[in-house]
Structures are given as structure tokens and as C-alpha cells.
Amino acid sequence: MVVGTAKNVGKTTAFNALRAVARRRGVAVAVTSIGRDGEPVDALDAEPKPRVRLAPGTIVALPAGLLPRSPALEILGTGAAGALGVTVFARAVLPTACEIAGPPTARAMRATIERLRTLAEGPVLVDGAIDRVAALAGGADAVILAAGAASGATPARVAAVAAGAVARLGLPGRDPARERGRVIRVDGALDARDAEALLAEARGATVVVADPTRVALRGALLAALCEAVDLRCERPLRVVACTTSPVGRETVLDPRALVRAVAAATRLPTFDVVADLAA
């Protein structure tokens, strides 16, 4: 699943690059999206958006309301209903371009991904959203974080935002062998008020949340909490790489500097899939 640190950070571009690589290698993939993607312009801010082109054989999950009429897809099944109709599972028979979107909840997205797994021979690629990445929690699936100039005016700032997101999403899973002191389970979100209480009363304890998306903290407070307690989650995520997009609405950054900064800050392999750069 590709998730972004903000809107317009190259998430769908990275998603499409993954599909292109898969296609070149002859791997049939399944695709879906958590947000609404593939439309010519963003439905919210009218910014240009890349189309999702489906090669023959690609399995896709999308709402019935976005099903392209031509070229026709082979319909393989239906699933949960959302605002744009039931989720339709389909296979591209001829090349086609379309919008894709997924179901509105993490639970329905989990079910959609599971269904896609049964239909596709290759991997399932999800154009995701950082607040819905919980759909992958606890599994072996990979998360790719897209970072871009839309989230900061300098490479350092973009890198800092990306590093914060990676720290949060990369929250380690529980390790009973390392749990020596108190174990405190936080139901629901771990917010600033919880963090304050834990810093005051629970230093040295193991603090457990359900999954990394439940940590509603960033920056210095998150760093301080991680320093004071052993923060863990029941269902971890696996963040494997970052991508960068140097073009923001008001900022254009140096692509090489940005890739290097994000790689250094996150300690993850980082790619600019448009400029063909890696660090």
C-alpha cells in the first residue's frame, strides 16, 4: 500500500510506477484505492491527477459507479457498498483507463484486499491513505510512504515529516520477552493527554496500542514518549520504502537533494520514480 504524508505528494504516481514495473516484469497485479484516484483532476482541490491505466489481466476493485463502460471489464464479484455503489471486482480484458476507489472503512478495505488476493496471481497494490493504513496492520504487507514538496518548503522539512510518519507507522510489535515492567494497554487513540500521563507516571513501562494508526502524536512529544516508555503495538505495519515528489503547489525542490534527505532521515530506501533517482 502506498500512503502519503500529505495530499499531492506523488502517492498515485508511485502507485502507477509500481504497476508499470510489475507489468514490465510480466507480473499480473490487483489494484484498488482507498481514496478516489485516477480521475483527471483531484475531486477536492482540482489539482491534476494521474489516470490509472489498467493493462489486460489487471484485477481491480472499484465502486460500481466508477466502472468504465468501455472497454468492458470482466466482472468477477461484488462486495461492500459505499457512496459510489457496491465494490465491483473486475479484470481488464483490453487496455483501459479509469478512476478507482475503494470502500470507505478499514474493515471493508481489509475484506477487499483479501478478496483481491484470491482473485489475483500477483501482488495487490493499494493507492492508500495514511489514516486507513490500519487495513494492513498485523499482516506481512508492505507500506510505501510517499513524501513530497507539498508537505514542506525544504528538503529537510519534507524529510522530517517523512521521518515522523515512518517512526509512527513503524511502531514495533509486542515482544513478550522484552516486557519486564508494567504493561499498559491503551484502548483507542493514544493522544497528547495520554502521553502526558504516561510521561508522568509510567516511565519504563511497556505501552501497547492496537496498531500504529492509534498513535495520535508527532514530533517532540512522540520522541519523548518513545524515550520514556517502550511503545509497542499489537498489530504492526511494515514500512519498506519511501518515494519523493519534488513538486509542490508553491514549492519546487531539488529532486536529488530531496531523495537524499528523505533517505537519510527515514533510513529507508527512497526513490524518485519520475526522475529515476534512488538513495
Binding site: R69, S70, P71, E74, G77, P95, R256, V274, D276
Partner: protein
């Protein structure tokens, strides 16, 4: 049969409706359109209940559960048919849903055969719809097949060729980009750093955006032939969908008939499942009698079973009005509820859970008594609420009414309360209503000139009180000692066994002893 919300709750009607709720959408729709049976519907009610029991005798619980699961899985084609009949275009997802409908019906028919269901009552199949959709069936689902429109195969071939041509041109341009710029243009767009390549873009490449450090480029391979092929393909596919939708629309009456039959089957199987769980009989419908043997008030039986307790089946024979007395905890309220429940079963076409029954089909079932909750909601006192309730019920009472009165006027002075109850019973009897009236007041039946019944009561006085507040043990002891039979009251009125039960429930000894002394004197 009408019953207000309070009555529905008391006689288990809400529970019953949930227990016999159809599994699928068609059944629910079917049920909504079927009013309960009432006076004059005796033959229809008899036929439905007899049919349910006949089917229950042929099917086992597992088979019924499997059939109901099959009904739950049948997709609802209603909205698709409405659009098809209106001439609206259908989507491929709609055709897929129709294939699911055909498959679900086939699976249901197979399950019916496997269960040993009578051939003449088998679920419907939609063979004509299956044939219409057959060319689009794929191993995984549905595809708008070439054969759905004469020009579709050629249009697809032309589009695929045009796309391949465009792709080949794009790949040739991409190769030039790789050679000239050293960049692999994997996606639609690619960026070229100025310090890596400052020259003109290769032929077939456009610059989309420029910054100080790089240029974003894209491969452009316009193809009028591809666009034309796409337009033709789109037209042919729409033609195929229109043709297919017209054939579906022509079958709409058949499909509607099938779903209607499914709805009836769903209703029936829900009742069969109920009968297999609770047993039941075909009642003799008799407007003047309300009688049953070994009857079970299923909601109570289920609640008791959840606590590891057993329900004691009841028998009653009632013509007109009767007064029921007996001990506390002896099941007077349960007897009233059972009478209402069995009539409700019959009205819904459900076999009443009894060994035998003779029942009316009342136009209305009304419960009077225990209006505390309604009273709180309306700011009336409990007594006032009861009186208002009695007034309303009496206003509509007739031979077609079953009135169940549970300790009416118990919250007012006993002399006046008893007098009021006698008058109420007389009024109900005068109107010819079926009425079962539970009370602790003495002599009401004799005063009102109706039949006197009582719960047989405790079998002995050898019960040990609950220890340390062990209510479970106390209830077990009561249950073991209580004779729940409804018998004619002969001679002196029965005690309520209130003091004995208070002792059993571990009320302080001194209080029980004092009360016994006062009672004896």
C-alpha cells in the same frame, strides 16, 4: 390481528415475529404484504399451518438451515428490473448480479432436492434468463461477450490492434528516451534533471513542466485510429448492453414471479424452522373456544433454557371469560401470555407450539395490567393507566377480541379494586369477548358469573428456604414443588402461598413468623 406494543411484548409477539422472520429480502417483502389472519381467514390459516407441518415432517433442521442460507444469498434483482423495464441502460455489474441470481436459484433447487423437498414445491429456476446470459458467463463471473452484438468482435479486434500500435510507438519513443537521456520512463510522466540532459526532448516527447533543476516530460503518441477504434468499440458495447437489457426486460415478469415464489418459500421455511424447534399442531379453528394441551410459551421456554431451566407445558380450556387465581410464582401471567401467544401464532400462520389446540382468530388481542412503564411515560399513576387502558379495550371489545387481564386494580384498595374487577369481567363477558383474568382477589369469578380456574399450586410445605440469598436454589425448589396445572377452582378459594414463598425466598424469619401468626388469627 391487532395488538398494541405493550400487548405484543407481553404475549411474545415481537419475539415470534423475530423467530419467524424470513431469511432473505424476498421473504421480508412477502411477509410485509401478508397481513395476519383474522376472523374469516380460518381456512387459509389452517392450510398454511398444515402445509408448514407437512414440510417440517419431510425436512430436517440442517436441511432447512441450508435452504435458508441459500435464500439469504439470493441477490435482489428488483432495482435492475425496474431500470431494464424503463429502458435505462444496464451495467455489466447488473448482468453479473443477474447471473448470481440464476446461480443462487439453481443452488437452492439442488439443496431442495438433496433435502428431499417435495418436487411440486421446489424453488423456482430461471432457465430463460440463464440462457440469455449464457454467452457472457465466464469461469469467474460475467463478461459482455462478443456474441451479444454482431459488430462487437470486430470492434474489439480493431481496438486491440490500435492499442498495440500505440503501445509499440510509445515503446519506440521510450527506447529513444533511454538511449538519449539515460532515463527509463516507466510511468506516464518522467523528470529529466537539467544538469544531466539540457538538450531538446527526443521526437514524441513533450515537456509538461519546467523548473530550475529539471523538466517533467511525457511521451505523446496520438492516434486518430485508436480514438476511432475506441469510439466504435464504445458504441458496439452499448449496443450489446441495450440488446441484453431488452431481453432481460422481456423476462421481467418471469423473474418477478420467481422472486415472489421465493418470498413465499422463505416465509414457509421460516415457519418450518420454528416448528422443528418448538413442535406444533394444526389448530381447530373455533371462534368460541380457546383451548390447548401441552402448550409452550416459547419466549419464556427459551429464556428458561438459557438459564438451564425447563418450561412446564400448560393446558387450558376456555369459552368466553374465566378468572384464574393461584399462588404467586405459579404461572398465572405465563398462562395469559401462552393464550395470547398461541393465538398470535395461528394469526401469523405459525404452528402453535402445543400438542393440540382449538383457537379463535381474534381481530384484536389486548393485555390489561402492569401498565407501570406506560404510566411513567404518560405521567399517569399505575392505577390511572390501568383504568384508561381498560376503558379503551372495553370500547372495542367483541366476540373477536381476546382480552388478557393481569391483576387489574391491584394497586388500589382491595375492596374497591375487587368490585371494579368483577364489573370489568362482567362487561367483557357481556360483550362476548374471550377473556382470561388473573387475580389474587377472592370470589371474582363467582361474583361475575364466569368460570373459575386456578393454578394447582405448591404440592407441599417441605421446602427449605434459600440460603445466603441463593435465589437459583430457591427457584429450583419452587419449580420442583409447584404444580403449574390449570384446574377448575372448586370450593374455597386457593391460597396465594405468599407466606410460604416468602419463607422460601429467605425473608427474615421474624417477619415471616409474625405474618403467619397474623394470617392465622
Amino acid at each position: 390481528m391487532n395488538a398494541d406494543a405493550a400487548t405484543a411484548e407481553r404475549i411474545g409477539l415481537d419475539w415470534l415475529r423475530a423467530a419467524v422472520a424470513p431469511a432473505g429480502a424476498f421473504g421480508r417483502l412477502h411477509d410485509e404484504r401478508r397481513p395476519p389472519y383474522g376472523p374469516g381467514d380460518e381456512a387459509a390459516a389452517h392450510a398454511e399451518i398444515a402445509g408448514v407441518l407437512a414440510l417440517a415432517a419431510r425436512l430436517d433442521r440442517d436441511a432447512v438451515a441450508a435452504l435458508r442460507a441459500g435464500l439469504r444469498a439470493v441477490p435482489e434483482p428488483g432495482p435492475i428490473l425496474v431500470r431494464a423495464r424503463a429502458g435505462d441502460p444496464l451495467d455489466d455489474a447488473d448482468f453479473y448480479e443477474l447471473t448470481r441470481l440464476v446461480d443462487a436459484l439453481d443452488a437452492l433447487a439442488r439443496a431442495w432436492d438433496a433435502a428431499g423437498g417435495p418436487r411440486g414445491e421446489a424453488p423456482p429456476r430461471l432457465d430463460a434468463l440463464r440462457d440469455v446470459l449464457a454467452p457472457g458467463r465466464t469461469p469467474g463471473g460475467f463478461y459482455l461477450a462478443d456474441s451479444f452484438a454482431p459488430g462487437l468482435r470486430a470492434a474489439r479486434a480493431a481496438f486491440a490492434a490500435a492499442e498495440a500500435d500505440v503501445e509499440a510507438r510509445r515503446e519506440a519513443i521510450a527506447a529513444r528516451v533511454r538511449d538519449a537521456l539515460g532515463i527509463d520512463p516507466a510511468g506516464d510522466e518522467f523528470a529529466v534533471l537539467r544538469d544531466a540532459y539540457g538538450g531538446e526532448p527526443p521526437p514524441g516527447v513533450n515537456v509538461l513542466r519546467e523548473t530550475a533543476t529539471y523538466r517533467v516530460m511525457t511521451i505523446v503518441a496520438p492516434s486518430a485510429a485508436r480514438d476511432a477504434a475506441f469510439a466504435t468499440l464504445a458504441e458496439e458495447e452499448e449496443r450489446a448492453r441495450r440488446a441484453l437489457a431488452e431481453r432481460v426486460a422481456a423476462l421481467a415478469p418471469q423473474i418477478a414471479a420467481a422472486t415472489s415464489a421465493l418470498g413465499a418459500l422463505d416465509r414457509r421455511l421460516a415457519r418450518v424452522a420454528f416448528a422443528l424447534r418448538w413442535g406444533g399442531c394444526v389448530p381447530a379453528f373455533d371462534a368460541d373456544a380457546l383451548a390447548f394441551e401441552d402448550a409452550t410459551f416459547a419466549p419464556l421456554a427459551e429464556a428458561l433454557a438459557a438459564h438451564g431451566r425447563r418450561y412446564t407445558p400448560l393446558a387450558l380450556e376456555l369459552r368466553g371469560a374465566a378468572v384464574l387465581t393461584g399462588p404467586n410464582m405459579g404461572g398465572k401471567s405465563a398462562a395469559l401470555a401462552t393464550a395470547g401467544f398461541l393465538c398470535a401464532c395461528a394469526a401469523l400462520g405459525v404452528p402453535p407450539p402445543a400438542r393440540a389446540a382449538a383457537l379463535p382468530l381474534p381481530r384484536e388481542i389486548a393485555w390489561i395490567g402492569g401498565e407501570g412503564r406506560e404510566a411513567r411515560a404518560s405521567l399517569l399513576s399505575s392505577y390511572a393507566a390501568e383504568v384508561v387502558r381498560a376503558r379503551d379495550v372495553l370500547a372495542g371489545a367483541s366476540r373477536d377480541t381476546l382480552v388478557l387481564v393481569d391483576e387489574f386494580a391491584r394497586t388500589t384498595g382491595p375492596r374497591e379494586g375487587r368490585a371494579l374487577l368483577v364489573a370489568l369481567v362482567e362487561a367483557l363477558a357481556a360483550r362476548g369477548a374471550h377473556a382470561l383474568v388473573a387475580t389474587h382477589f377472592d370470589g371474582v369469578a363467582a361474583a361475575a358469573g364466569v368460570r373459575a380456574l386456578r393454578i394447582a399450586g405448591l404440592r407441599g410445605r417441605v421446602l427449605a428456604p434459600a440460603r445466603d440469598g441463593d435465589l437459583d436454589a430457591a427457584l429450583d425448589a419452587v419449580n420442583a414443588a409447584m404444580d403449574y396445572r390449570i384446574v377448575d377452582e372448586a370450593g374455597t378459594p386457593a391460597d396465594s402461598d405468599a407466606l410460604e414463598l416468602a419463607r422460601l425466598l429467605d425473608l427474615q424469619d421474624d417477619v415471616v413468623r409474625r405474618a403467619s401468626a397474623l394470617f392465622s388469627s
